[in-house]
């Protein structure tokens, strides 16, 4: 079991200082990810899912109030490394990131081929010619014609730029790629295309993915496992097959009931109220105020209950 484990996150905590107090963006997150699997982190905006990605990759802004917990990648405890060791041995080498709006994060005055090759030169120490050869191979993997290596970002469409960003994250052959909202600004057919590319990469290169998204419908295109995040905490984890047919946590159930489907006319539901502020989150279950199934016990914080290999942070599943 242990040798199959690629990533283990234990009690990860990331708080920010803000004008009004301390924002508890990531508050005690635990999950595991095996080799060649994809986990989807689902959650609404402001629930801390991008902060979770930043905490795993240690890409921290200046106003960090607290940063603790453990992140093991391939059995190594990354929290024991200092920043320079982390940069040399973990970031890009063991795991890389496709940031939000990645297609707009390319440098407009550099050729895309050079940009894709750059991480290989820095982290693997190869020559520019070798790095460009690696970039050429990566372009084939993500389905961009190799003569685009010499183009500038403005000459590429949005979908192609997104694929270039994915190629860049893969050039150092990391085992884990974190994708932050990879398709949220793209059209339907381009989205479908990008997910085809990601599926093929997962099959051919054996990469694992953490896919961070609020789009439940398209996330099912890649998901092996699902983790649902609410107000800085993971409230449910489990395999995708069972999650998409029968979510356990009341929040997950409501979320699933709010997804419009093509050929189904069931009444859509929405969740009344708003997510709580992360500056002073409520004590007890953080979803209680919006939950239709709440009872007395919900004023205490629920522990994580195990249920047939899935976990859920809700008193309803207490045994």
């Amino acid at each position: 079991m242990a040798d199959k484990m690629l990533l283990r996150v234990e009690n990860l905590l990331l708080h920010f200082r803000a004008g009004a107090g301390v924002v508890q963006a990531v508050d005690g997150v635990n999950f595991d990810l095996n080799y060649n699997r994809a986990v989807v982190v689902l959650g609404e905006s402001g629930c801390g899912k991008t902060s979770l990605a930043k905490a795993i990759l240690r890409m921290l802004p200046r106003n960090v109030a607290a940063y603790s917990g453990k992140v093991f990648i391939e059995g190594k405890d990354t929290m024991a490394l200092d920043d320079e060791e982390f940069r040399q041995n973990v970031r890009w080498v063991a795991m890389s990131l496709v940031p939000q709006a990645a297609m707009n994060s390319l440098n407009p005055v550099l050729k895309v081929g050079d940009q894709v090759a750059e991480p290989a030169m820095i982290h693997l120490g190869v020559s520019k010619a070798e790095a460009l050869e690696m970039a050429r191979k990566m372009f084939q993997h993500v389905g961009v014609a190799v003569d685009f290596l010499d183009r500038y970002p403005f000459e590429l469409s949005g979908g192609m730029r997104q694929r270039v960003a994915i190629a860049m994250s893969l050039i150092t052959s990391p085992n884990l790629v974190v994708l932050d909202e990879p398709t949220s600004a793209l059209d339907v057919l381009t989205q479908a295309n990008i997910f085809n590319v990601l599926k093929r990469i997962k099959k051919d290169l054996g990469v694992s993915f953490i896919l961070i998204t609020h789009d439940i419908a398209t996330s099912s295109e890649l998901a092996d496992d699902v983790a649902v995040m609410y107000a800085g905490q993971i409230v449910e984890t489990g395999d995708a097959m069972r999650f998409f047919t029968e979510p356990l946590h009341p929040y997950s159930q409501k979320l699933m009931a709010s997804v419009p489907r093509l050929r189904q006319t069931t009444e859509l539901e929405f969740i009344t109220g708003q997510p709580p502020s992360l500056i002073n989150p409520p004590t007890g279950c953080r979803f209680a105020a919006r939950c239709t199934k709440r009872f007395e016990k919900c004023s205490e914080e629920p522990p994580v209950f195990e249920k047939e290999g899935r976990t859920v942070k809700c008193w309803l599943h207490e045994k």
């Binding site: 469409s157 339907v188 057919l189 419908a217 999650f243």
Partner: protein, 341 residues
Amino acid sequence: MSVELTTTNEVKTEKKERDVLISIKNLHVWFELRRWGFGHAGYVRAVDNVTFDVNRGEAIAVVGESGCGKSSLMKTILALHRPTKGEIVFEGKDVSKLTGADLRWYRTQVGYVQQDPYGALPPFMTVGRILEEPLIVGGVKDKAEREARIFKVMEEVKMSPVSDFLQKFPHMLSGGQQQRVVIARAMIMEPKFLVADEPVSMLDASVRVEILKLMRGLQERHNLSVIYITHDLSTVSYFSERIFVMYAGKLVEKSGVQDILRNASHPYTHALLAGTSDPDANNALTFKEVPPGEPPSLVKPPPGCRFHPRCTRIIQGLCDVEEPPEYEIEPRHQVSCWLYK
């Protein structure tokens, strides 16, 4: 008895068909490209020969990818662009010929719900001021009446207690609340017609449904006509009765929503439907069928059918030469494709 029933039905449909609120006829919107600022360098054919009617109280959806011309179509309907050719007739008047007071009247008759609510609201104005502005411009002189109308519209978009929100600035509201203010602003002049440009694409899943239901409720209560512009087919059936599929400046299929889900006819519509995911873990096990390539340039669109370079069912020598006419394959279901010759 049965005879009587059919006749009343017929009368009803006929009456409905005749009760057209806005009619778009052979609309062309071309933007001129210039070389060095003055030399003519061709046109961007954003909207190319589009014809459709919208009845009173009807919600229609225009579906297409970015760059297919749906925003140009919408802006021309809002009288923000002038048509190059063709006309838009609203209650018997040609919109592109309106000027002065008539144009101001037209602007009170159409409401506009923008895509990005935060970008659409001026950050330095309070909610109350944002909603008062159109009333002042629209010539409502009495302050008490303006306030009454603001209260009424805020209650309609379920922003209560109203007085709590009027003094707030847009950045103090959540995304869903901002979108409600945008809808309230579109509704405040009591328009007959609403243009909604991807009103929910920037919102979270759980809020998205709330806003769609709110708009649906307004549409039914006020008998509004709505043009709902989107690229997301899965929300369409919850909101509109008819659907127009747009590709590279042209409408390729027009049909009722249920007909298009049951009997999609244009290869591009098929591709869009196949590309839309329902939440299902089995999706991860298969690859999606996506037509190769990208939408064509609107400066030099391909000859014949504009979808032919990406189409898997191309008829060589026909699709790449001659533009397909519109075929009616069942009542109220038209498709521009040579397969239905």
